[in-house]
């Protein structure tokens, strides 16, 4: 088994095909989108492939050590082009092909007009455990 992280981005990912900001959707479209994500997680749990999933607030801050005795530096409230992660889901699947298949399925979540967003999701493998046999 291999664990993968599926990352949803607020910003930083290529534009989706159905690129309408969520606040322009109808409330029903938003509900349908949320329901799709819940159903997706539920299906993964039933198939034994679900590990974890969380949503993240849109605003993040970059923080850096600024020297002995000084408070850490933050990047301030100004507009940024940095990537912003909207949330993640961790899956545990038999291999890369299955991970891609599931990411594709999640990317088909409905958006404006009830049509799939075709949102880009980032798929990142976790480091596995070292195999017992190597030499």
């Amino acid at each position: 088994m291999a664990k993968y992280l599926l990352l949803k981005h607020y910003r930083g990912a290529p534009a989706p095909v159905n690129d309408v900001p969520m606040d322009r959707w109808t409330p029903e479209e938003i509900s349908a989108h949320m329901q799709y994500m819940r159903d997706f997680a539920g299906r993964l749990e039933k198939s034994g492939e679900f590990v974890d999933g969380q949503a993240l607030a849109p605003e993040g801050t970059w923080v850096r050590y600024d020297g002995e005795g000084r408070p850490p530096v933050t990047d301030g409230p100004f507009a940024e082009t940095k990537d912003l992660i909207a949330g993640w889901m961790v899956i545990d699947v038999d291999g890369y092909d299955r991970a891609v298949e599931l990411a594709g399925e999640l990317s088909a979540a409905p958006g404006a007009g009830g049509k799939p967003i075709h949102e880009w999701l980032e798929l990142r493998p976790f480091y596995g455990v070292p195999p017992t046999v190597t030499e």
Partner: protein, 388 residues
């Protein structure tokens, strides 16, 4: 309370229930219930015949559950259905269980989970911990697997090769959580070897024993990887090595060579060398030739290139490597090692860094990064007698 004894009895008890006509999923649940009961009762009141006790309790649990499912059944049914009490039959259905749990209709991960649960007697929680997934996820994985195999007839002969692959997967998973999966895989393979007389089962058991024997020396206390040549050989488990070699020799004597026996032979030659320098690389190359013939696997060819590099020198190893696909996992690591031995430190450092980037586990990545850093420091230092 001997938890391992309990787990050893599990497949036999499950086998009896299924043989008596219980469907697999229900029988498996009943056996788990009986195991929980045993953990509760045995410390105070140990049974004389543990397996017989488990069969009796598991069968009662099964009947209770079956009755709960069919409320219309008359109470008297139980009397008719309950078999005469007595010792469990000596005939063992364990082997059929192994086949069922490794059934080709299951995905590898489902087969592993089901084997650990039904043959290994582990709880769902223990398996979930070992694979670092939530218990609910593992419970679903196991119940799906049980549903998948529930239509399979229990007496259909299974595919031994599939069983061995599943056990090998378990072994390679190492350990996390409170169960050592490698040790569990050794135990299950030992049990299988007692039930079925086949040289490849023995070969797999030997392979596991030989690798398991060296495990303590494979990582430093900080978790970092120690390559074979630098391992403290005094920490190898000599009893396990001796057993592995004996099991392997008996298997090889039967002259039905298979993949696991050949791999075990390589492991035995490593285990046999008093120092890394005394490793019989020429013989190891010969075993890799056998493995190439048996499997034609590119990974085996890559390992063979390493052995050729040791037996005939790095230039010969690099020549072998040139014929292989550079996209193979660990190709860059092997190339880096051979280039370093040939004296081309700059190329080796670059390849180690590339290999680190491609590594699929952390200990390996860190090890390869250190190798690259070591060579880069030497290159910066200049005038190194081993540099070019």
């Amino acid at each position: 309370m001997d938890e391992v004894l309990l787990r050893t009895l599990t497949p036999g008890v499950l086998g009896v229930l299924v043989r008596r006509g219980a469907d697999f999923a229900a029988a498996e649940d009943a056996v788990q219930d009986a195991l929980v009961e045993a953990v509760r009762v045995w410390p105070e009141d140990p049974p004389r015949d543990p397996k017989g006790w488990l069969v009796t309790v598991a069968w009662r649990k099964f009947l209770d559950a079956a009755r709960a499912d069919t409320a219309r059944r008359r109470r008297e049914d139980r009397v008719e259905e309950e078999p005469e009490p007595g010792p469990a039959p000596a005939a063992d259905d364990t082997l059929q269980l192994y086949f069922l749990c490794a059934h080709p209709s299951l995905t590898p991960s489902s087969a592993v989970a089901l084997t650990l649960r039904a043959v290994g007697g582990l709880t769902t929680r223990q398996i979930a911990q070992a694979y670092l997934v939530p218990e609910a996820t593992m419970a679903q994985r196991i119940s799906r697997a049980k549903r998948t195999v529930s239509g399979v007839r229990f007496d259909t002969p299974g595919d031994l090769a599939t069983v061995l692959r599943v056990l090998y997967l378990v072994f390679n998973e190492g350990y996390s959580g409170d169960v050592d999966l490698s040790a569990e895989a050794v135990r299950l393979t030992r049990q299988l070897a007692a039930a079925v007389d086949h040289p490849e089962v023995a070969g797999l058991l030997a392979l596991m024993l030989l690798h398991h024997a060296r495990r303590a020396s494979r990582t430093a206390p900080d978790g970092s990887l120690v390559p074979l040549a630098e391992q403290d050989r005094s920490r190898w488990d000599t009893a396990a090595i001796a057993e592995g070699v004996a099991v392997l020799q008996a298997a090889l004597a039967r002259d039905r060579l298979g993949e696991f026996q050949a791999q075990a032979a390589v492991a035995a030659l490593h285990a046999d060398a008093p120092t890394a320098g005394e490793t019989d690389w020429v013989q190891i190359v010969e075993w890799y030739d056998e493995l190439v013939r048996l499997t034609d696997s590119p990974v085996v060819r890559l390992n063979r290139a390493v052995a050729v590099g040791e037996a005939d020198g790095p230039r010969a190893g690099l020549a072998e490597l040139a014929a292989l696909d550079a996209a193979l996992p660990r190709y860059a690591a092997v190339a880096a090692y051979l280039h370093e031995r040939e004296g081309d430190l700059a190329t080796a450092a670059r390849l180690y860094a590339e290999a680190a980037h491609q590594a699929s586990d952390l200990a390996e990545r860190d090890h390869l990064t250190r190798q690259a850093a070591r060579l880069n420091a030497r290159l910066r230092g200049g005038g190194d007698e081993e540099g070019r």
